[in-house]
């Protein structure tokens, strides 16, 4: 029963994260391209896999593998996460500002 709950929690969390991302971009008045969605979901899956990796390594009695592998992958995730966020959202904002029509003085 516990395994069912914990497995469900992983899936529900993933769905909530996707839903939150969807609404976040909507509230910002932006629309992510399909490939940005793909990368975002892959990144979320990678987060889950890395933590599952850490847990598995600890569970099978290899804490040093969890430590070394965990640090390596978490650093990669953090870097890719920041790059994606800045590229997907901050980049869009700047792009939109550049494309916005300049208000003309009618007077």
């Amino acid at each position: 029963m516990f395994e069912l709950i914990i497995n469900s929690l992983v899936i529900i969390s993933l769905l909530i994260a996707i839903y939150a991302l969807f609404n976040y971009q909507k509230e910002k008045g932006e629309k992510l391209a399909w490939w940005k969605w793909t990368l975002s979901i892959l990144w979320l899956l990678a987060v889950l896999i890395v933590f599952a990796f850490i847990g598995t390594a600890i569970g099978e009695g290899s804490p040093q593998v969890a430590l070394r592998g965990g640090i390596t992958f978490l650093v990669l995730l953090a870097i890719s996460g920041v790059v994606f966020f800045r590229f997907f959202f901050v980049g869009i904002k700047r792009e939109q500002r550049i494309n916005e029509p300049v208000e003309q003085d009618v007077n």
Partner: protein, 500 residues
């Protein structure tokens, strides 16, 4: 709070919850005892652990090189040197060690003449090695008996549990061992106990399917069938067992037609304890028992059967037959790498003429993996594993990697409790069957570009760490041998026993 910030926080919270939950799921999977696959597991469905069908091929996964030749008595059976005492006329009641000291100059072992050996075949073997490689093997063996083995008496006091567990396995299985040996005690023992009524087999293919199911019921997680190749057998009996006298020619009778291969991995829990604490004896026993059960089953159908197993010993060479049967592919460490357990698999085989359909070999890319990996060769304590590419394997008729078995065995003799098994423990294929390792394996064996294999090898080195060969050698000061990983807590006798 703005809606936008709310969703931002909700997303972060969901990712954090998901990550934590995934960690727990991973932990449960990693700690699940059922991932110790094959280890004393009584029953699996054939093919449940790994479906070989997509990897089956009509070609053997190696290149034909040279002419196959049956194996000479000593060429690849250097383990027989552990019975070196038989090669001398040792006076009755005199310890072998004491006898040796009386006939050799202990300060000048290198100049011990081979003429003192009674067994002329063994003397010829030592001379052959000296001629070919310039290596005085005989002196090395004498050094082991006179210098290394007495060291164990000091170490053993610190490894009480290690010895107790090994001896417990050995003692209990020696009962079976006696039983096994008696079942192959003569050349015609294959026919002893065969039912008078011989059942006709409707379809060899269906019979093979049945045999595989029965084999898994008997406890073997892998059951494969091979058509026996007489060239992959011993030319002469390496010892006075199985109805032969030592050195007697082994003739292949007509009813040695098919081999039913079974086996078992060594205990996963002790893997990190290699070389000293990773045991062999439990798998020896169980693998032999599976063969005994299967041979009995076959005999009751009215067909002769003969066990080739760790306890009953062998007439046939197992690795090439295992490769031909699709049990796995031969790796750099000379062992057969199975998809389920890597090289951690102790085989046995029942030889019979029960009509069966042989299995096909498989190609899971082990050769390419081993070409790149080399972890076993780099860590081998005796440097017995080649770092080069595949070469002709002497007498097999194909290429691959052949370890220096005698050099390997010399390190065995240095390790308390006998044996090494480092190459099994460090192989990236020797992993438990949890989602992490089976997923990695499944991707690696399908990716023929080799990129996944290279990535996994990098991770193996970076995450699991790398030891030098010297790490595993005995340090006089610390009185310790380095291990692959952690010593299993249940081997730590000083935590449980008072110092005497």
């Amino acid at each position: 709070m703005e809606r936008r910030d709310f969703f931002k926080l909700a997303g972060i919270a969901a990712v954090a919850t998901g990550a934590a939950s995934a960690g727990v799921v991973g932990y449960l999977n990693g700690a699940d005892p059922s991932t110790n696959t094959g280890w004393e597991k009584e029953s699996v469905t054939p093919g449940e652990l790994f479906d070989r069908t997509p990897f089956e091929t009509d070609q053997l996964p190696f290149n034909k090189v040279g002419t196959p030749k049956r194996v000479e008595m000593y060429a690849e059976t250097q383990l027989r040197r552990s019975t070196l005492s038989k090669a001398f006329d040792v006076p009755q009641g005199m310890p072998f060690n004491a006898y040796l000291k009386s006939v050799v100059d202990v300060n000048n072992l290198a100049n011990t003449p081979l003429s003192i050996i009674k067994d002329k075949d063994l003397a010829a073997f030592y001379q052959g090695v000296l001629n070919r490689y310039g290596w005085n093997y005989f002196a090395e063996d004498l050094r082991h008996i006179l210098e290394v083995q007495p060291r164990f008496a000091r170490i053993n006091a610190e490894t009480a549990f290690d010895f107790a567990i090994a001896n417990a396995y050995e003692w209990a299985q020696s009962v079976h061992m006696g039983y096994h040996v008696s079942r192959v005690s003569s050349k015609d023992s294959d026919f002893q106990g065969v039912a008078k009524k011989r059942y006709e087999i409707k379809d060899p293919k269906e019979m093979s399917r049945l045999i595989k199911k029965i084999g898994t019921l008997f406890g073997s997680p892998i059951v494969r069938i091979v058509k026996l190749n007489p060239e992959w057998s011993y030319e002469r009996a390496p010892d006075s067992i199985r109805g032969y006298t030592r050195g007697e020619p082994v003739n292949i009778p007509e009813h040695w037609k098919y081999g039913i291969i079974m086996g078992q991995p060594l205990s996963w829990e002790t893997l990190g304890g290699a070389p000293s604490y990773f045991h062999t004896l439990e798998a020896y026993g169980n693998s032999s028992i599976y063969a005994a059960r299967m041979s009995d089953f076959v005999k009751r159908l009215g067909y002769p059967a003969r066990e080739n197993s760790p306890h009953a010993r062998y007439e046939f060479i197992m690795p090439p037959h295992m490769v031909a049967a699709g049990v796995g592919e031969q790796g750099r460490n000379g062992l057969v790498i199975t998809p389920e357990f890597g090289p951690n698999f102790r085989p046995s085989m029942v030889v019979t003429d029960l009509p069966l359909e042989p299995d096909k070999p498989i190609n899971i890319g082990v050769r390419n993996f081993c070409m790149n990996c080399k972890i076993c060769a780099e860590q081998c304590p005796s440097r017995s594993i080649s770092l080069d590419g595949p070469k002709e394997i002497g007498g097999r008729g194909y290429d691959g990697w052949q370890i220096n078995a005698a050099q390997c065995h010399n390190f065995w003799l240095e390790v308390p409790n006998g044996g090494c098994r480092v190459c099994i423990a460090v192989c990236p294929f020797s992993k438990k069957s949890n989602w992490l390792h089976t997923t990695a394996r499944d991707i690696a064996i399908r990716d023929r570009t080799g990129l996944t294999a290279k990535g996994l090898t990098w991770m193996e080195r970076a995450f699991y760490g790398e030891n030098t060969p010297e790490h595993y050698h005995y340090e006089e000061g610390s009185r310790q041998y380095g291990l692959v990983g952690e010593k299993p807590w249940f081997f730590e006798s000083k935590d449980f026993l008072k110092e005497s």
